[in-house]
């Protein structure tokens, strides 16, 4: 069981079935959409890690629109476009819009699995990095509370020491009185 959910979007039932079978066999969780509309519905309702979508589909929601919808819903969803050789230029333009990659038809499954593994690796690194920054945030917030309390406390103590010094150095007052005054002050600090 691989820890990734893949949404397949293709209007060709043969391609859909083939992709579904191969990806399930490889251990991925697979969701299926027959067109862009179904894809949009699934994306808003379920968690998806990767969208594998045909570039050219009938209707107003094509592969590019699926890409835009997915990225808008959750920018960490990765999208791979499947394209005919003739539409490579469009696929490259899609990469600029945030697609992770594109595959040319007919699909080479070794290539597809390599891309998916790469995405899985990046996502696991990303999760790891987020865990680390979460841990860092926690450590930082606890440490900062301690440090700030100490900082204020030190400043207060320094202020008292300064007052004590002023009293003890005050030559207008008799030295015994200075000591009593200083002791009075220390008493107040307790």
């Amino acid at each position: 069981m691989k820890n990734m959910t893949i949404l397949i979007v293709d209007d060709d039932p043969v391609v859909r079935k083939m992709l579904e079978k191969r990806l399930e066999k490889a251990g991925y969780e697979v969701l299926i959409a027959e067109d862009g509309y179904q894809a949009e519905k699934i994306l808003t309702q379920q968690h998806v890690d990767v969208v594998l979508t045909d570039l050219m589909m009938p209707g107003t929601i094509g592969g590019i629109e699926v890409l835009e919808i997915a990225k808008k819903l959750n920018s960490s969803i990765e999208v791979i476009l499947i394209t005919a050789h003739s539409s490579v230029d469009t696929a490259v333009a899609a990469m600029k819009k945030g697609a992770a990659d594109y595959l040319e038809k007919p699909i080479n499954f070794d290539e597809l699995f390599l891309r998916l593994e790469k995405i899985a690796n990046v996502q696991s690194l990303l999760r790891n990095a987020m865990d680390i920054s979460e841990a860092m945030d926690t450590t930082e917030s606890v440490a900062s509370e301690t440090i700030q309390n100490l900082e204020i406390r030190t400043a207060e103590l320094q202020g008292r020491l300064n007052t004590l010094e002023d009293i003890l150095r005050d030559e207008k007052i008799d030295s015994y009185d200075r000591i009593y005054k200083a002791l009075d002050l220390l008493e107040k600090f307790k």
Binding site: K71, S75, S76, K96, K97, G98, L126, S133, E140, S141, A143, S144, E145, I147, Q148, L150, E151, I152, T154, A155
Partner: protein, 279 residues
């Protein structure tokens, strides 16, 4: 990855200290290797000594720039820890505006703010966003926002104001993201109205602060931690010289000035601390 020898470690650490003031622990040889190995490889250096010699003798300073970019840490976020920004919005800015508002209505209120280690710009843009929201009638105010950093790469990215999704993910509330950024593909660019408020330039905090002028508010967060104790003392002394007598200093939330600069006194506001000069 190219391995670094103890002798090279000493040489390179001293070089980095000389050009940037950043003090790197020599026990962390992996840090040198992971950060400088790629530069050595890219320029066909077979040893770190070779890289060091190239960097030292290169009149164009390209190596020096690359090494500084690689060594300086650019971990920063928009509104990184909320504390300082809430402090700025609810206390420091309103008080500073009161203090700086001239008696004559024809005169502008001038305020200068400096982000002393601005990295890739998120801190200064966060400050700019707060000011934009706090002072809608901008014609009455002249707020100068300066960001400086030792890394050319960081300064260039800050000036572009373009961030990828990883740099955007944490810290920035959704409404601010929509209002102040334009999305293109996987990246976000700060809108011109905010970018026009700020200025970034390269500056080494180890150098004398001549020509910078006086500031009303200085942010110097999480940079002194990379310096030695004597260098921290010198740095905060220079900051005290560059801060208006009633100005405010904000340092990193886990940093302390105890034993570093007696010219500053800490003050608490809610859950945050800021510093003012002692009278």
């Amino acid at each position: 990855m190219l391995k670094i020898s103890p002798e090279e470690l000493k040489l390179v650490a001293q070089y980095i200290y000389d050009v940037s003031g950043i003090y790197l622990d020599q026990s962390k040889s992996y840090l040198f290797e992971t950060r400088l190995g790629a530069i050595a490889a890219e320029h066909g250096c077979n040893t770190y000594k070779e890289l060091y010699q190239k960097a030292k003798t290169d009149p164009s300073k390209i190596f020096e720039r690359k090494i500084i970019d690689a060594i300086s840490t650019n971990e920063t976020l928009f509104f990184r820890d909320k504390g300082p920004f809430e402090l700025l919005q609810h206390k420091l800015l309103p008080e500073m505006i009161d203090a700086r508002t001239p008696n004559s209505p024809n005169l502008k209120t001038n305020i200068k703010i400096w982000s002393a280690a601005s990295s890739t710009g998120q801190e200064l843009y966060s400050i700019a966003i707060i000011i934009k929201e706090l002072l809608p009638n901008s014609s009455k105010y002249s707020v100068q926002l300066l960001g400086t950093d030792i890394s050319d790469g960081a300064v260039a990215q800050a000036s572009r104001g373009k961030y990828n999704k990883f740099e955007m993910e944490r810290g920035l509330p959704g409404d601010k993201l929509q209002r102040y950024f334009t999305m293109f593909g996987d990246s976000w660019t700060i809108k011109d109205e905010i970018r026009a408020m700020v200025q970034f330039k390269k500056f080494n905090l180890m150098m004398p602060f001549t020509g910078l002028g006086k500031f009303d508010i200085i942010f110097c967060r999480n940079v002194a931690i990379y310096f030695t104790l004597p260098d921290r003392q010198k740095l905060f002394n220079k900051i005290a010289d560059s801060l208006a007598d009633d100005g405010y200093l904000i340092i990193g939330s886990t940093e302390s000035l105890t034993g570093i600069c007696p010219r500053f006194i800490p003050k608490r506001h809610l859950r945050s601390i800021f510093y003012q000069k002692t009278k």
